[in-house]
Symmetry: C2
Subunit: 293 residues, 2 copies
DNA sequence: CGGGTCTTTGATTAGGTTCAATAAGAGTGG
DNA sequence: CCACTCTTATTGAACCTAATCAAAGACCCG
């Protein structure tokens, strides 16, 4: 288990190495990388057919180093960002100076959208690793959208998707237990890594327990404890930032008993190891145990 | 205090009565109401200057009765809705059939946006009172947007605003105590009523404790108890669905001690009555009491 | 190697859920 | 109009999850 930090070397590599990558496109020009519309849409996972000649519209890339701030709260808005490689976090700062993590943008994600309304960014974006971002000057982009209907619709689509994502987040925070939140977080990370072509079974967390906790509405201790618990019952392996997914299905279906509804009949013992869960007695369980089918 | 249900009669009145209202526009035509672009933007609180002649674009109204479903999850998406009058809720249904309330759209709110991405509604919208909604056929709307740049930008703006709203919701669910959530909920309701021209001091809740709880990530019992507690310490008056706001400032500033940060110095005793709070000893409080400045 | 950050783990407490019982309304139909 | 039912709201008591407080290890970087 010494290959823990091998799952996504590329994003850790310096920008110059990105250029020689075979997976992504982007041309060196004026010492920077550029992408065309097609690449943008591929990145955003948006189904779209573009006419030839669109290659002329190029969007500039920018590199950020770990810890750098892409934009801050209140800063005048003028551009959206698409993650080409690397990992980030977006945060809100409350009146006590505490961070509230809103999202962990990674390859293919769009951020900065919250700045459109007030013309100022409502959140802050910080690079959790070296990042390569594509700049989308909003004015230029909407102008382009009028010529390219698909592009305009793509924009609506992406914003709609973000909204649905936030709704799912609200739903999760409002209804799920700590264990379920952490489990879902791991599964979604795993899925994202798979989409990006990395291993979905073994990856490194790019964020601290504190950041995960903030994102999930939990304390860092609870996150740490929950990961340890998952490790103990064999759902995952944990070693600091390195996570190995051992039982995706269990993680996916892990919930808590639905609030105010006591029909916990199927105490299925499908997976014996799940029942070895710490504070759970396999027999004396008129309620739903840690994991359900 | 017998005028409890007088704060917003109009929304309870039958559609025909709406027509004679002096506050909103809308023309009777073909037995239905119609609104033009200008009215739409006013309703959405979007700053915009329209050229003359825009009056020709008319948007149809539709009426729904209390309890009626406007759209359901999975239903093919083709139109957005703007609330002209009345109250609704949008909900997600989880795998156990439990409702998760996402929002309480009211006058000036846009909903249905979550359907754009997958072309199917991701949530369900239900009328909590008799409603008058403006239909926004999405295709027609985007087509119009290309001719009217302001309109296109308005659309982006509204979607961005929704996103910021959801972010604030996530932040609230992740960081605030039950008391703070209920307090903020009341304040935001109060603000909304004020915007609509109703009393911000006395209004009727349109939703059940259960729905409020779902929205805030709490149980109905906690909501009920918290309202009772606020009532006892004089922040509000409660009588079933009727709420009287007595101390907006206290409600606004009510928080809990920030998670993982122990600088709680300003134990300001600005308002004595606040310190009369139930389970709180004014003196023995090295931590932040119920209310802060 | 040393200081700082991050993580793990334990002990304790408190805030909120759950279960339960009662009361208050809102409809419905005789 | 009243009995009956169903939904909604209130309140109490016990329990439990996750937060808080605390301390020790692990890791990183200069």
């Amino acid at each position: 288990m010494l290959s823990t930090q091998m799952s996504d070397i590329r994003s850790e590599a310096p920008p110059s190495a990105l250029h020689s990558s075979s997976l992504e496109a982007g041309w060196q020009r004026q010492g920077k990388l550029w992408s065309n519309l097609k690449e943008l849409c591929d990145l955003l996972r948006i189904p779209s057919a573009f006419s030839v000649g669109d290659e002329e519209f190029l969007f500039q890339h920018v590199q950020f180093k770990t810890g750098q701030r892409i934009h801050t709260i209140g800063q005048p808005f003028d551009t959206l960002y698409i993650v080409h490689s690397g990992f980030l976090k977006t945060v809100l700062i409350d009146e006590f100076g505490n961070e509230q993590v809103l999202s962990f943008p990674m390859k293919g994600d769009l951020f900065g959208v919250d700045g459109i309304h007030t013309r100022r960014y409502a959140s802050e974006a910080v690079a959790l690793s070296n990042c390569d971002l594509i700049l989308l000057p909003f004015k230029k982009f909407t102008a382009l959208g009028r010529a390219h209907i698909e592009l305009e619709h793509a924009m609506y689509s992406v914003m709609s998707r973000e909204l649905v994502r936030e709704q799912a987040m609200v739903s999760m925070l409002g209804a799920l237990s700590a264990e379920a939140r952490v489990a879902r977080f791991l599964v979604s990370l795993s899925d994202r890594f798979a989409e990006m072509g990395y291993s979905s079974k073994l990856f490194n967390l790019r964020m601290t327990r504190h950041e995960i906790g903030s994102y999930l509405g939990l304390t860092l201790e609870t996150v740490s404890r929950t990961l340890s618990a998952f490790n103990e019952i064999g759902l995952i392996t944990v070693d600091q930032r390195s996570i190995g997914i051992k039982d995706v299905d269990a993680l996916k279906t892990l919930r808590r008993l639905p609030p105010s509804s006591s029909r916990a009949k199927q105490v299925a013992s499908k997976k014996a190891k799940q029942l070895a869960a710490a504070r759970i007695e396999p027999d004396a369980a008129p309620w739903e145990p840690l994991v359900t089918v």
